[in-house]
């Protein structure tokens, strides 16, 4: 007999991929919050090892911890009229390097951003703080007479670090309930290190 039934899933609450906010800092008189609702797509990630050094060991192989890499923050915005997104990003670009080609110190242009995940009832479930953020790539404008759409503005940002600022009380409670539920049906599921941390 299998350790858990489909009811295990039925009693869970799952994070929807469309319930999020990207909160950017205010720059040059433009509120970062104004860009929040225009962000259509978002991706970011944690540190991980993209390349694992390996040695051969007889007919097996052994992997060893290598350098850690963190993926770029990628965001796609709808282009409004007037275009506050491009104005905002150009302000940010000018903080990195001015018209004369002089670069600023990192503390001038590296900012922090926040990504919030929400539950269906609007409560915040997870808050990620993205540290040392600044734009690195700017959009290619895809204009066409053949299509009927709104211009998308794609940006990539450097990220130095990502920290999970924690989930709300309701999020912790939901996690705890789901773990207790899983335990009660003698699930074979093991509790991850991150979940143990939240439960403490």
């Amino acid at each position: 007999m299998m350790g858990s039934s489909v009811n295990t899933l039925a009693n869970q609450r799952f994070q929807r991929e469309y319930l999020y906010d990207l909160l950017l800092p205010d720059l040059g008189g433009i509120s970062g919050f104004d860009l929040c609702g225009l962000c259509m797509d978002l991706s970011f990630g944690e540190y991980g090892m993209s390349d694992v050094p390996k040695t051969a060991y007889g007919n097996k192989r052994r992997g060893y911890a290598g350098f850690f890499q963190i993926p770029a923050l990628r965001a796609v915005f709808l282009m409004p009229v007037p275009d506050i997104v491009s104005m905002y990003m150009n302000q940010w670009k000018n903080l990195i390097v001015d018209d004369k080609g002089n670069y600023s110190p990192k503390e001038t242009y590296a900012q922090n951003a926040v990504v919030r995940f929400y539950d269906r009832d609007g409560t915040e479930t997870n808050t990620f703080k993205l540290i040392g953020v600044f734009p690195t790539t700017f959009p290619d404008y895809g204009m066409s007479n053949r299509k009927e759409g709104i211009v998308n503005l794609s940006y990539e940002f450097n990220v130095d670090d990502v920290t999970l600022e924690g989930s709300t009380a309701s999020g912790k409670e939901a996690l705890q309930n789901s773990l207790l539920n899983a335990a009660s049906i003698a699930s074979i599921r093991s509790v991850s290190k991150q979940e143990r941390k939240w439960l403490r």
């Binding site: 489909v6 899933l9 269906r120």
Partner: protein, 170 residues
């Protein structure tokens, strides 16, 4: 206890008639006549709404569905009788010209081409039983009319409106 016809009779004293309704377009874009549009409307639909389904497969079970996003058709169709005064054509054409002018191919701003439309369901005593507001409407399509010597009919237009959302007002 079994439910008999009297239970239904007591429960449903006044069923909503499908022919007791009217529409109101308080501010037709492009200079149309609100009263004419209201009087000559012949058939409409109460807009639908649905919640999307996120399907999660699981092992050999049938899986589970979780609610997704709220969804509308975003389209609402109304049929109007046309008169020899072609007021319906003028109203709808004027609205569409404001969206995109067919001569110079210039349109008004997105915030200037939308208007709300009200659909009132009426009781047998004439009172409004349900008032629905379709928010952010613009004319998406003005249908064609078939003119033919084979038929005895009145010219009517099917007009497709796009809307953003709808709500019950009262």
């Amino acid at each position: 206890m079994a439910i008999d016809v009297n239970t239904l009779k007591n429960n449903l004293t006044n069923p909503q008639r499908t022919y007791l309704w009217d529409i109101l377009i308080p501010s037709p874009i492009g200079g149309g006549d609100s009263d004419t549009l209201s009087v000559r409307a012949q058939s409409v639909q109460k807009p639908s709404r649905e919640v999307g389904a996120i399907h999660v497969p699981w092992r050999q079970s049938a899986g589970l569905n979780f609610p997704g996003k709220l969804a509308y058709t975003h389209q609402w169709e109304c049929t109007f009788i046309e008169g020899e005064d072609h007021k319906i054509h003028d109203a709808i054409y004027g609205w569409m010209q404001t969206i995109v002018d067919d001569y110079d191919n210039i349109g008004a701003g997105d915030d200037q081409i939308k208007s709300d439309i009200y659909l009132n369901l009426l009781g047998v005593n004439g009172a409004v039983t349900l008032k629905i507001r379709l928010i952010g409407c613009y004319v998406q399509r003005l249908g064609e009319i078939l003119f033919s010597n084979d038929a005895e009919a009145i010219a009517s237009y099917s007009v497709l409106f796009s809307f953003d959302s709808w709500e019950i007002v009262a």
